[in-house]
Subunit: 329 residues, 2 copies
């Protein structure tokens, strides 16, 4: 058996010069599909069925200030280490739906149908993927909101401003709810992004939706099998959740970190959207040290789909092990 380098690798090397087989005459029996699969994924936590629902991926040019306390070169180095392109950032969105003890519970809602149109389908895929997963938003009993950023709350309304979960109670931490609905906080918000966030939240909840809001306290079971966990810093009332049934559980971290390639690997990187960056880092390190100590799986809102895995300590940061896709439930 000829195992020379030329023999084993000859094919790959030859590609530089080999002409492609001519294909002008032939026509494929079947045209390319031209579209990606509906991206949803199921798993069980004890008796509870969880469905991760992709809302899409937003790719943008990397701002110089994307990580407030690091240079763009340092962010690019983290991206390169993970085989991701430099000078760009692709942030995925992965809300989950939980079928648990007689209740259908959504955690976060994605960028919303209006964003689907404006992004040409790159984000705001939640409703389409939810339908592909066989879940009717009319049947959702509870929507848990981790925090009041647009990519988590905008999916509460359709492009015309109508409620997309007409039969659901909406829940968020009392800290988060009070903060964004406080007129004093709103009046003190700097013009630009912060003022816009306040306006966006008023727009959403002043549709009548505010009457359906029930604030919750951290440390309590807020829906069957779902416990709210304090994770402040990204926003004042940012919540994580633990889904538990029997001896199994998973930590739904919301935005405790953003994309793992940059922010799990480097918990000291301060994402420009962390409102209190110091507190966000403290929260992040406490939660990740707990995940490592308990060998607990974590579902991340901004992790690449299906957006869950395990973590180990790795130097000053953490290493993310994406879960092995299960081809059966």
């Amino acid at each position: 058996m000829d195992l020379s380098r030329r023999h084993v690798l000859g094919g790959a090397a030859a590609l530089a010069t080999a002409p492609m087989i001519s294909t002008t005459a032939a026509e494929a029996a079947a045209p390319p599909a031209g579209k990606q699969v509906a991206s949803f994924y199921r798993y069980k936590i004890g008796d509870i069925e969880v469905t991760a629902i992709a809302d899409g991926t937003n790719t943008f040019n990397l701002p110089d200030t994307f990580v407030a306390n690091k240079t763009k070169a340092e962010v690019n180095a983290a991206l390169e280490k993970a085989f991701l392109p430099a000078d760009k950032f692709s942030v995925p969105f992965a809300p989950v739906v939980i079928n648990s003890g007689g209740k259908l519970i959504a955690i976060d809602t994605g960028n919303g149908p209006a964003a689907f149109a404006s992004s040409k389908g790159n984000v705001g895929q939640y409703q389409t993927n939810l339908a592909a997963a066989g879940i009717d938003p009319k049947n959702i009993d509870i929507v848990l909101i981790s925090h009041f950023h647009g990519d988590h709350v905008n999916g509460l309304l359709d492009a015309e401003g109508k409620q997309l979960f007409p039969n659901a109670q909406v829940m968020a931490s009392s800290t988060e709810w009070k903060y964004w609905m406080d007129d004093g906080e709103m009046s003190r918000a700097p013009a630009g992004r912060m003022a816009d966030l306040f306006k966006n939240n008023r727009r959403i909840f002043e549709t009548g939706l505010q009457k359906k809001v029930t604030p919750f306290e951290w440390g309590k079971e807020v829906a069957p099998g779902v416990t709210a966990i304090a994770a402040p810093g990204h926003t004042p009332g940012h919540s994580a959740f633990v889904i538990a049934s029997g001896s199994d559980k998973i930590f739904v971290q919301s935005d405790t970190t953003n994309h793992p390639a940059v922010f799990v690997a480097n918990p000291g990187f301060h994402l420009m959207f962390d409102q209190d960056a110091k507190m966000a880092e403290e929260t992040r390190r406490k939660i990740y040290d707990m995940l490592v100590a308990e060998k607990m799986r974590v579902q991340g809102y901004h992790f690449p789909f299906p957006a869950q895995g395990n973590v180990t300590k790795d130097g000053d940061g953490y290493r993310y092990f994406p879960v092995q896709w299960s081809t059966a439930l």
Copy 2:
């Protein structure tokens, strides 16, 4: 903001004692789906559309001799490092279909419909997932077979022994084809697994399928955009492939390694199914050193779905970085 350990982690710690919210009275508005998503995934290599099609996952008790030159404890240690359960092994199967320059090309075919029935759906999912991906096997022009093990060739026939790709030419390396069809080799095969493999291959190809077989040579473009690469050792004529279009390419490694958690991390581990273990390791190290040097993506038949990623050198072995799922094509 109270950021004490009790506050941040109180919820997780409280789970040990907190009673679940009673759910006996309530009934879910929607029943659990009870089944996993159809597992297929699309990506582009230049102008070529590739679809990874899951055939399922086979979970079995870890044999003592699963890695011929290592103890079961050493295999368990590799599994534990990757957050996989000890004493078991879950091997996924991921054939691909390529829509390329007027031709629809399958690489390998999975465990086949007969295995679907006997495994209660755990493996042999290929035809179902192919249909979900909108691909009709009647439209497939070429089936490339990497090697003649049952999990690659059994999907050529349905449970009644009828051809599942009636309009396809079947191609494999001339070395592989000659080896399994050689009566002398068959007569010298040890009873048990090797003799059974010969019998299985005769069963499949003596249906008339042998008339559709065209052997190929390594280093040649064997279908539009697809070049065959010598990767012997796992079997005498085991082939890998490079799919290339424009400046993009991916290395379809077939069984150059089995599951990455054990066999990419530890290229010196000799899987019990490697026919010539020394040659398989030489091939593996050459190919992986090339993948690292060229920063080339790799699609693995036994990688967790969607079964592709990048690799870096990591000590004596390699570290696997699963690809970031793309929510759009």
